[in-house]
Amino acid sequence: MNVIEINNLTKYYGKSRGIIDVSFNVEAGEIFGFIGPNGAGKSTTIRTLLGLIKPTSGTAFIFGKNCFTDGKEILKDVGYLPSEVFYYDGMKVIDLLKYSASFYKKDCTKRIYELAEIMDLDLNKKIEELSFGNKKKVGIVQGLLHEPKLIILDEPTSGLDPLMQQKFFELIKQENQKGVTVLLSSHILSEVQKLCNRVAIIKEGRIVKIETIENLRGENYKRIIIETDIDLSLDYFNIDGVNDFTINNHTYSFLYKGDINIIIKKLAMLNIKNITIHEPDLEEIFMHYYEKGEDA
């Protein structure tokens, strides 16, 4: 079952691009990563899902309900953590959390204290006295206190120290094990790599790739680096599946995706001084998609 279903979602702000033809599904129980550089359209997509922004065209469904007409029903089971958190000045943390809880028809008091304990949050401080990181913690507790079935996180870890990031990831994983679906937008690949099952990569408003993490880095791509004694002809590796080709002296480096046998045979014909073959990390693949701009 799909918790989120987005079909051909397009948003223009006047004439300037927001997102174009974005389509993807997030299945129940998965942690779905949404990655892309600044200004690619991550927040626009998320804000459209939440009903904060009205789309130019396209449809979006959460829990099978229309995001643009049934927002009220959907939001009962959604927890949202924005990238920048702003709350009412003059309120204490606990007052804000209680105010937030009051919108959901259940008793969240126990959960508030649990979460505050985990995130090490002082409930009696005033909001305006909190540092950026501590405000973010308020945001996390605020997003999770009503035990939502879908958690939407927009660049959640900025401002958190590594220890808190760790705790936060644990928290998200725990929620996920309870069956909660998570949509995580980020440009920090390590956190996506750690948490997510699948990712969508967005670039200049368009989705360029939707893939499982394993497929993205493990099964399909190999980073191959060889050293030779002699100059190779430039088009020696000009075959299908070779990308990101660089030459440094007699060191040749490229990403390979495709039948391993073909490339091994190709390599076997050369006199090679040294060779490394490894799985690229997400960063490399990510850079590859962005720099080449290829719809692979």
Partner: protein, 264 residues
């Protein structure tokens, strides 16, 4: 309900200050009543030497000042300027402040329709206006009984306050509407004051009489205390007109706000 209570709590201090300053103003003006009554009465004697139409043109105002109700009407014309400022500022900021302070993300991702949010906030504001009006109603009653020894008709007095409340609602909804059609309200204070003073001054300059055409344009004079005094009651056409305006502006506000993009 929670938004309603939250708004009331947030506005508590400001409301208290409005009520206090209004009360001080009213008490001060009411203290003046005995002297002004004397001035006015001596002037009325002088007026007897002038032709009939002149007396009608100016005399109405003066005659009304000599009675305690008529004088109160003058006092409440001043009060009205202040309460409409309160109403307009509140209307301008009640929705726009969420965007300016960037708390809109918080509020609008709660399971509530935008219409429900606006309605809740409107009811909270109406509560505040009602509290303000009842407070100054009581202060006025007390100060009138203290500073004058004549009896007066409580009904007129009550109608003047209903008029004040209606004017406040009108300006509140106008403020709400303006804040929603403007994309970003940088200074709700400045815009509200600009509009209020423009309308107030225009109404003072242009509207001379109860049946002046300009009265329809400047919201100020729909339920003007002096006019209520002269007509002995609120005027039904203006109540209906006001109601239509409120419904229209509110409907437009809701439609536009429901379509609005809340950008971060």
């Amino acid at each position: 309900m929670n938004i309603y209570l939250h708004e009331l709590k947030q506005q508590r201090k400001a409301t208290l200050i409005w009520i206090l300053s209004l009360s001080i103003l009213i008490i001060l003006l009411m203290m003046m009543y005995p002297t002004i009554q004397q001035d006015a009465e001596s002037f009325l004697k002088l007026l007897e030497n002038y032709p009939e139409e002149l007396r009608l043109a100016l005399g109405m105002h003066i005659e009304s000042i000599t009675s305690v109700l008529g004088f109160s009407a003058f006092v409440f014309s001043f009060t009205m300027l202040i309460t409409t400022i309160q109403a307009m500022i509140m209307g301008m900021s009640i929705i726009s402040k969420e965007e300016r302070d960037k708390t809109a993300d918080f509020l609008l991702t709660k399971p509530l329709s935008r219409t429900a949010i606006i309605i809740n906030k409107i009811i909270a504001s109406l509560t505040i206006f009602t509290i303000t009006n009842i407070s100054i109603y009581l202060v006025s009653l007390i100060s009138i009984t203290m500073f004058s020894n004549t009896t007066f008709d409580l009904m007129f007095f009550t109608e003047i306050f209903i008029g004040l409340l209606l004017t406040q609602i009108l300006f509140f909804i106008l403020g709400l509407f303006v804040s929603i059609i403007m994309k970003k309200v940088k200074s709700p204070l400045g815009v509200s004051l600009g509009i209020v003073f423009l309308l107030y001054t225009l109404s003072t300059i242009l509207v001379k009489d109860t049946d002046d055409i300009m009265r329809y344009l400047t919201l100020y004079k729909y339920f003007e205390p002096n006019f209520i005094f002269m007509n002995k009651s609120l005027e039904a056409p203006f109540i209906i007109l006001g109601l239509i305006l409120v419904i229209l502006l509110l409907t437009f506000s809701l439609i536009i706000y429901n379509k609005k993009d809340i950008t971060s």
